[in-house]
């Protein structure tokens, strides 16, 4: 009887212990490489640490006070918020649209999937480099093409004597030197490089919608649009939430693309928070101040994510 009891206790213990043992390796890695640096970051944010073997001296909240009077940091923060506000809906709906299109029975559907997913496999640095080659003001392919077309002036030939076209002066345009062009270039570059990734998430979610729902909809006389609005879109709620949060966090953290694409320019027009923090830490060697900026950024992302989760719960089951 005692043996039986001991075996049962051991069984219960195993039931409780084993899951934690499986989680242990990941917890150790998470603790060492995520939690510890995060705590160190909070500690450094309260000091005047400059790196280079410097001993951190407590300045308490001075760094926080200073960064909120730093006009350049506030500009980078505002720029990041604007980027999230503009890019997030674009990436979200482009990836959803692509997912809906390639989930249909199309010829060479696999090829389309590969094409749309292909930019995801390119490293961020290379993405930045590719588009810099294309958009560079003086050596870029875009301006090279415009110059060639401008010199070509086919419409001035006898064959195309069109008065309207003759008035068009085609030539190089200001690309990465223009703050507006560069900023929207970042929006385009991010969308191009990441939409495929979120598309795959939507495709997985789309394929898991029971066909019976569509059959029921058809019986009720629903058209394509109504089926999308009343069946597809609500069924995608968990995927939508995940894509929304993941994409937002990724845009908040945007950095390697930009360093290669615009370098944060022209004149800081594409200077976002992470690059600013990086430069504060490693160019100006203010690791304390940079840590405070990172903490502020974490809070921003947490508030955003929390709000999204709260709103999604309030909405209840659609």
């Amino acid at each position: 009887m005692a043996k039986k009891e001991q075996t049962f206790k051991w069984y219960v213990l195993k039931q409780k212990l084993v899951p934690y043992l499986f989680m242990l390796p990941n917890l150790i890695i998470f603790g060492l490489f995520i939690i510890t640096p995060a705590i160190m970051g909070i500690y450094f944010s309260l000091t005047s640490f400059r790196g280079l073997g410097d001993t951190p001296t407590f300045v308490w909240f001075d760094n926080y006070r200073d960064i909120f009077t730093d006009a350049d940091f506030l500009a980078a923060m505002w720029n990041t918020v604007r980027l999230v506000a503009v890019t997030l809906p674009i990436v979200f709906y482009v990836s959803l649209g692509l997912a809906v299109i390639i989930s249909k029975e199309l010829r060479a559907r696999g090829l389309y999937r590969a094409i749309y997913y292909w930019p995801v496999m390119i490293s961020f640095i290379v993405v930045g480099l590719i588009w810099q080659w294309i958009f560079h003001d003086t050596r870029g392919y875009l301006n090279g093409l415009l110059t060639t077309i401008g010199n070509w002036r086919i419409w001035e030939t006898a064959l195309f004597e069109l008065p309207l076209l003759n008035r068009i002066d085609i030539g190089p345009v200001r690309t990465l030197r223009s703050p507006t062009f560069a900023w929207w270039g970042v929006v385009f570059l991010f969308t191009w490089s990441r939409a495929g990734y979120y598309m795959i998430m939507f495709v997985a979610a789309l394929l898991s919608i029971p066909p019976a729902l569509y059959e029921a909809g058809e019986l009720d006389g629903a058209n394509r649009w109504q089926k999308f609005i009343y069946i597809t879109y609500p069924s995608l709620k968990p995927a939508r939430l995940m894509v929304f949060i993941l994409a937002a966090m990724e845009i908040f953290k945007i950095f390697p693309h930009i360093v290669q694409f615009t370098g944060g320019g022209p004149f800081d027009a594409t200077m976002f928070q992470v690059q600013y923090i990086y430069e504060e830490a490693f160019t100006y060697r203010n690791l304390g101040s940079a840590s405070a900026m990172s903490v502020v950024m974490i809070f921003m992302v947490m508030i955003f994510t929390g709000t999204v989760l709260l709103l999604s719960r309030r909405g209840g089951e659609e």
Partner: protein
């Protein structure tokens, strides 16, 4: 299948054993950055040093953009290199980590020596650098742009024995605006360092009283920065390198052959030797006072605190020997930090004579003034911000940018 598995296992085992095998380790490591071929020249010298002494020094290169960041990480990780190629900025930012070279070489035989707070040298001057103006002769001649020429004794401009002024420079270079085959009249390295001679050319020092007050908000400094701002806003200079902070952009521009001038320094001369158009170095213009000035700088060899200090100092002693020192500067070629060194510049003799002439024409008090300026912690980012602020069409006025820079210098002096 079994055979395949057995073979795979043997292969993996072999790889693991090979990976665990002891690799021969160098005796010391040297951190390096290159603008041209100087890394290759140093590699050859290290090979010879190994043959002579049996000491193996491994050279590893880091791009200049990441140089100080990587060094900082290595110092923090207690993994600093034994030897390192340094600039004044690097020596200043890390000065407590360098070994004193007091007595290691004869200081009287060298120029441009950088000292730590205890007035001990912490670098062996290797090559001397000077800012200068590269011009594309083919483009300038094609568009009848006048520039000073040397008659063997003096610079002649407009029939007079003198160099040009900035006003005359602008008048001449404006001939290239919109001209055929010209992208922009000129291109300028984005670093604030390239602008600073313009302040001296106005006839003033930057320090009013060293480490106490500056002349940065004087009329002369404002005039100098206004000139630079006009270059950018008036389309005389391509603003892409500074707008997108791309230091490599300016030399790339010049290499296209579609820019009339490139404001930079002697370190690009060896790279430009292979260009397929005629170019030379022209003297930099002066302010209305007629004062000529360049910004002297240089690269040094320093030893860092660590386990191999004695070996590192032995190498520096060896490197300071005239024959070895000259081998490096002749190999590139570079202007030498060794007084009396005879360097064969080969086909670059003409351009280097101009750089040497710029150095000779620079008043000694300006050279000393700049050396003191390099001792301000974080001076380079401060002056970089300053020029970027005025190049920005929506940025600051020259006076505002100079006031901001002055404040940042004072803050740095107070903090450090």
């Amino acid at each position: 299948m079994k055979k395949f598995l057995a073979l795979s296992l043997i292969l993996m085992l072999g790889l693991v054993i090979a990976a665990c095998g002891e690799r021969e380790q160098p005796d010391m490591q040297m951190m390096w950055f290159s603008d041209g071929i100087e890394g290759e020249v140093m590699e050859d010298m290290l090979e010879r040093y190994r043959e002579e002494t049996g000491v193996w020094i491994e050279l590893f290169e880091i791009g200049w953009d990441d140089y100080e960041t990587r060094l900082g990480t290595m110092v923090d990780g207690d993994d600093a290199p034994d030897l390192i190629r340094t600039t004044e900025g690097v020596m200043n930012n890390f000065k407590e980590h360098f070994v004193s070279l007091d007595g290691v070489y004869d200081e009287a035989g060298f120029t441009n020596i950088f000292y730590n707070d205890d007035n001990e040298p912490i670098g062996l001057p290797m090559d001397v650098t000077a800012n200068g103006l590269y011009v594309n002769l083919e483009l300038l001649d094609a568009h009848e742009v006048e520039y000073p020429v040397h008659d063997g004794e003096n610079w002649i401009f407009n029939g007079e024995e003198r160099v040009w002024t900035w006003t005359e420079f602008v008048t001449e270079m404006e001939k290239l605006v919109g001209a055929e085959g010209v992208t922009y009249p000129g291109t300028y390295d984005p670093q604030g360092h390239r602008f600073m001679p313009m302040i001296y050319q106005q006839g003033i020092k930057i320090w009013d009283e060293p480490f106490v007050s500056t002349n940065l908000t004087s009329d002369e400094a404002v005039a100098a920065l206004t000139l630079l701002q006009d270059f950018y806003h008036g389309d005389l200079v391509d603003d892409a390198p500074i707008a997108n902070w791309n230091p490599g952009g300016a030399p790339s521009n010049f290499e296209t052959g579609m820019y009339g001038f490139h404001m930079s320094g002697n370190w690009f001369a060896s790279d430009y030797a292979t260009l397929d158009f005629d170019w030379t170095v022209a003297p930099m213009p002066t302010g209305e006072t007629g004062v000529r000035a360049t910004l002297l700088g240089g690269k040094s060899m320093s030893a860092m605190q660590g386990e191999n200090v004695d070996m590192a100092l032995d190498f520096i002693t060896w490197l300071a020997e005239p024959a070895n020192h000259d081998e490096f500067n002749n190999g590139v070629p570079f202007l030498s930090g060794r007084i009396g060194a005879e360097i064969d510049f080969g086909e670059l003799e003409g351009p280097y004579q101009v750089f040497q002439d710029e150095i000779n024409a620079t008043p000694a008090e300006y050279a000393a003034d700049w050396l003191q300026m390099t001792q301000v912690v974080g001076i380079y980012p401060i002056i970089n911000d300053m020029v970027q602020d005025v190049a920005d069409p929506d940025g600051l006025t020259p006076l505002e940018a100079l006031e901001k820079a002055e404040q940042a210098i004072m803050d740095s002096l107070e903090d450090n």
